[in-house]
């Protein structure tokens, strides 16, 4: 248990997990819709503020799990309630807690029916998402991982668009299919590790190579669907298009990160040798996703679909960064997860704001609103620029580090930088589809529909978007504090990797022979 730093004081992580759940229960007793909205805002706001204490207590000088809480839970199967954070999860935890109040605000007038149930779904979602990022017991993780599906399914199926049933069922089936093999892998690991579900103990064990490959493949399927990696992405555009704004934001900003988080937390430390051997395939799949996502986004007429496909491309960059297996790449990938959460979340909020006015997600019906919504397009311009990695914005830093990691991967192999250069068309395409969208919305053409009746943003909407803009510029111009948070853990992860490098090469050689 030397990887753990126990939390002797206030059980802050447990409070973060259970406060939204308690709020959801309390909501049952509220009747007025407005009271439900305000109460949910207060609860999610309180969680956001409390999560800052985690940041205050977090020690950036260690790679160990911190603020750990450990309680016995189901002794018969040695299942425990163990939670903690490290440099890999803390940024994602904060992203989750800080984004939720804005999801509530964005649904203020958007959701008009069954407000109470909607807010309950949001709070249950929050509990599950926070739990996934801090769980250190595999059963706890798995339960929360699956628990997320239900409120998300409801968000799409009840408050979604015309094809909501198709989209929500597709979302549910895809993710469920992925997690079944995950469960098998968990049980195998449980049996091999003296019947323990404790995650840190499963890491860096010398499992036989063939077993590692099978476990890795099980992990891969579950996480690749969640990311989603090409070609497992088809559920995403459907879900995004039909989901209400808050659902899209949660989906894009947080749920997608669970896949890449899973790779970092489980696949890399538990199956290091399989990871090294199979990494090239994952890398080229990432490149395929980057380019495929870019081209598909370029062809979209539906703004939500456009952003959904752009997510496929952006998350391709994240998996690229993870599997180049060097510090720059992995740090860039974690930073890019946060960046994508901020930028894409904000873009979905922007599209939601247009939708509330025009009741259409079609790009053509939003052409030329720039003239009448100057405040809106200022925000939209910043987020679009950020989305394609404009220098000075957050995504640029992430992309820069990831591509630098890819170049380093190539030079370490003493070869022409094929991998890094292969990802560049993705960056070009990103500029193309984002600028196309921006041009259409701001300017349009010579025969725009009459948009003069449209109102610019109101105060609530400005309040929602401003913090996103603040982080876009902060991470864009001063990313060092964010990198410092993760540096120790990433460094530790990759040092362990180096130790397994020779093993892997030998094992792969044996396999080939």
């Amino acid at each position: 248990m030397d990887q753990l730093l126990f939390n002797s004081g206030f059980p802050i992580l447990s409070v973060l997990i259970f406060l939204p759940l308690a709020g959801a229960v309390a909501l049952l007793f509220l009747n007025s819709e407005q009271a439900c909205r305000i109460f949910t805002l207060v609860v999610s706001g309180a969680v956001a503020l409390l999560s800052l204490f985690v940041l205050a207590d977090f020690d950036t000088a260690t790679a160990r799990f911190q603020l750990v809480e450990h309680h016995r839970w189901i002794e018969a199967f040695n299942i425990n309630y163990t939670i903690g954070v490290d440099g890999i999860s803390i940024l994602l935890l904060l992203l989750t807690t800080l984004i939720m109040p804005f999801c509530v605000l964005a649904s203020w007038t958007y959701i008009t029916s069954r407000v109470k149930i909607f807010m309950i779904c949001l709070l249950v979602m929050e509990t599950a998402m926070i739990g996934v990022f801090v769980a250190l017991d595999f059963v706890l993780f798995y339960i929360l991982w699956e628990a997320m599906l239900i409120p998300m399914y409801l968000l799409i199926a009840i408050w979604g668009g015309p094809r909501k049933i198709y989209a929500s069922v597709k979302f549910f089936l895809y993710t469920l299919a992925g997690s079944i093999l995950l469960l098998v892998a968990i049980i195998w690991l449980y049996a091999t590790n003296n019947y323990s579900f404790f995650i840190p103990e499963m890491m860096w064990q010398d499992y036989p190579f063939s077993a590692q490959v099978l476990v890795f493949l099980a992990f891969f399927l579950a996480f690749a669907i969640k990311v989603p990696m090409f070609p497992f992405h088809t559920w995403l555009p459907a879900a995004h298009v039909e989901a209400p704004t808050a659902g899209s934001v949660i989906l894009a900003s947080i749920l997608l990160k669970m896949g890449t988080y899973g790779f970092l937390r489980f696949a890399l430390p538990i199956t290091p040798e399989a990871t090294i051997v199979l990494a090239p395939y994952v890398l080229w799949l990432s490149i395929a996703g980057i380019i495929y996502g870019g081209f598909t986004a370029l062809a979209q007429q539906d703004m939500k679909k456009l952003i959904a496909y752009s997510s496929v491309g952006h998350m391709g960059f994240v998996t690229l960064g993870i599997f180049v297996l060097n510090v720059r790449g992995v740090e860039g990938a974690i930073l890019q997860m946060v960046n994508h959460g901020i930028t894409t979340g904000a873009l979905f909020l922007c599209v939601g704001m247009i939708y509330e006015r025009t009741h259409s997600r079609e790009l053509l019906s939003a052409t030329g609103v720039g003239k009448y919504m100057p405040v809106f397009i200022t925000f939209l311009a910043f987020f679009s620029l950020s989305s394609f990695g404009f220098p000075g914005t957050n995504s640029f830093v992430g992309e820069f580090m990831i591509i630098a990691g890819a170049f380093q991967f190539d030079t370490a192999l003493q070869r022409f930088p094929t991998l890094a250069l292969a990802s560049i068309p993705g960056a070009v395409l990103a500029a193309a589809y984002m600028l196309r969208m921006l041009q259409k919305i701001i300017w349009g053409g010579t025969n725009n529909p009459d948009q003069s009746w449209i109102n610019d943003l109101n105060l609530r909407e400005i309040v929602v978007l401003t913090p996103f803009l603040f982080f876009v510029l902060w991470i864009g111009l001063g990313p060092q504090p964010f990198i410092d948070l993760m540096h120790c853990s990433v460094d530790h992860l990759l040092q362990q990797f180096e130790a397994h490098q020779n093993h892997a090469i030998a094992a792969a050689g044996a396999l080939i022979r």
Partner: protein
């Protein structure tokens, strides 16, 4: 190396156009206040830039550090001799262009003048940022900013032609930057651990044992990545951008935007690769011949253009490559000749574009064939045009002669007779497409159907800037020492 103290004048120089932009946007409904803000910002900027001249002339480097992103990647401003060349040109011509565009935009009663003025100031913000950038990242940031914020200027008329030109503009500039510059910058960072420019033009920043194949690849990426430099085959955006109002073509597409491209290219050639690396890898002479093709080909295309602005645009494409050609020859006079052409071309070409705009405002004529005999009606405009075109041809005593002289000496010193012939051929081509315009305007026969009744000289707000710019072209041709001093500091 201990970090020098921050010099706040650099920050002011950067912020003045930005604050000017915000001021213009806020006071957009009041024409006179708005334009007062533009002109005051431009004058203030010029004063701040001039205030740094004395120290930089002594070879000092002023630094202002803004943000640190990663180790070796920061937003930092520097003023050295090379940046002053461009900063002085951009800021002084902004002052002149502000007055000119007031006359032009009001004369034609253009729409959306607030947006126009705001984007104009923002483009200058970007250009000043490029001039004063201390590293590749800062340069890339402002380079991209210029691409984005000039889009509204090119698309200004909001008709099909405007949108088409603007789309081409943005596609060429952002695609090349993303496709070539981005990977080049990142790979340079991976190879060297820094993006800061070297202190002098000799050494560059690459370690001696760097993989030469990669360095050559990076060099090619940088040459094409800064597509604002108009080197063929990525030059199409420039003629396309001529749909913009003439002040834009004048300041941005003869000075600010295109010079951003050339400045970036030469800055990277000299301060990232360095003359030693370029010499060792034999990159210089092939580059000179490569851009030499652009010099000649663009001149030949210019011959065939009847639209005055198109002819000027192709002339710009051709002249920009002179600058790169000079630097690529790597001999001292050639580098000096190339860099000084940033100044010489700017003043002369802006005069030519100003004249084209003045002719358009006074007569609504765009085509050279329609201008026969017009010089006798508009003697000042065409007089200035004639003098500035002499500069483009490279005839003494106008500024362009200084360039040509240095380039010819430089090519002889480099023993490149091919380049020498190329320069002579291009001079003849320059004469071939400029001289007939002046000749026809003054000595051509007025068409019988159009007696030019009611046509007068352009308004004073336009004529005065034209004459000032023209006068400066002559002065820096007769007294080149002031600007040459900076160039000499660059080459050491």
């Amino acid at each position: 190396m201990d970090a020098p103290a921050n010099d706040y004048r650099l920050l002011f120089a950067l912020l003045i156009p930005l604050i000017g932009t915000l001021g213009v946007m806020l006071k957009g409904d009041r024409e006179n206040v708005r334009e007062a803000i533009s002109s005051i910002s431009s004058i203030l900027l010029l004063l701040v830039v001039v205030s740094m001249v004395a120290e930089v002339r002594q070879g000092k480097r002023l630094i202002f550090h803004m943000f640190s992103l990663l180790p070796g990647v920061s937003v930092t401003l520097r003023a050295d001799a090379m940046s002053m060349i461009f900063a002085l040109v951009a800021s002084s011509l902004w002052t002149i262009a502000v007055f000119y565009s007031m006359g032009y935009m009001r004369g034609l009663k253009e729409h959306a003048q607030t947006r126009f003025n705001a984007c104009f100031a923002l483009a200058i913000f970007g250009a000043i940022g490029v001039a004063f950038s201390d590293n590749l990242f800062t340069m890339y940031l402002f380079y991209e900013l210029v691409s984005i914020c000039t889009y509204p200027l090119v698309a200004h008329h909001q008709d099909d032609e405007g949108y088409h030109g603007a789309r081409k503009y943005l596609v060429y500039l952002t695609a090349t930057a993303k496709a070539f510059l981005l990977p080049a910058m990142i790979l340079i960072y991976v190879l060297t651990g820094t993006l800061d420019f070297a202190a002098t033009i000799t050494g560059g920043i690459f370690p001696k044992d760097a993989n030469s194949t990669l360095v050559i690849m990076l060099y090619i990426f940088c040459l094409f990545g800064f597509a604002k430099n108009g080197v063929m085959p990525f030059h199409h955006w420039l003629p396309g951008a001529m749909v913009a109002p003439t002040p834009v073509s004048a300041l941005l597409h003869a000075v600010a935007v295109v010079k951003v491209g050339v400045f970036c290219t030469t800055r990277v050639m000299l301060y990232v690769f360095g003359t030693e690396t370029m010499g060792a890898l034999n990159l210089g002479i092939p580059t000179a011949y490569f851009v030499g093709f652009t010099v000649v080909a663009a001149s030949i295309i210019a011959l065939s253009k009847d639209n005055l602005k198109s002819r000027l645009a192709y002339s710009t494409v051709s002249q920009l490559s002179y600058i790169i050609l000079g630097v690529a020859l790597l001999t001292e006079p050639a580098i000096q000749g190339g860099l000084i052409h940033i100044v010489n071309h700017a003043f002369s070409k802006i005069t030519l574009f100003f004249c084209a705009g003045a002719i358009y405002v006074a007569t609504h004529k765009k085509y050279i064939s329609e201008m026969e005999g017009l010089g006798r009606t508009m003697p000042f405009t065409f007089g200035a045009f004639a003098i500035a075109s002499l500069s483009m041809i490279g005839a003494p005593p106008v500024a362009g002669f200084i360039t040509k002289w240095n380039l010819l000496v430089g090519s002889v010193e480099a023993h490149q007779f091919g380049i020498l012939l190329l320069l002579i051929a291009s001079t003849m081509l320059n004469a071939a497409y400029f001289a007939p315009i002046t000749y026809k305007a003054f000595f051509g026969k007025r068409p019988a159907t159009e007696p030019y009744t009611g046509i007068k000289e352009a308004p004073l707000a336009m004529l005065v800037p034209i004459l000032i710019a023209c006068l400066i072209s002559v002065i820096i041709g007769i007294f080149p020492q002031f600007m040459m001093h900076f160039v000499k500091v660059v080459t050491g």
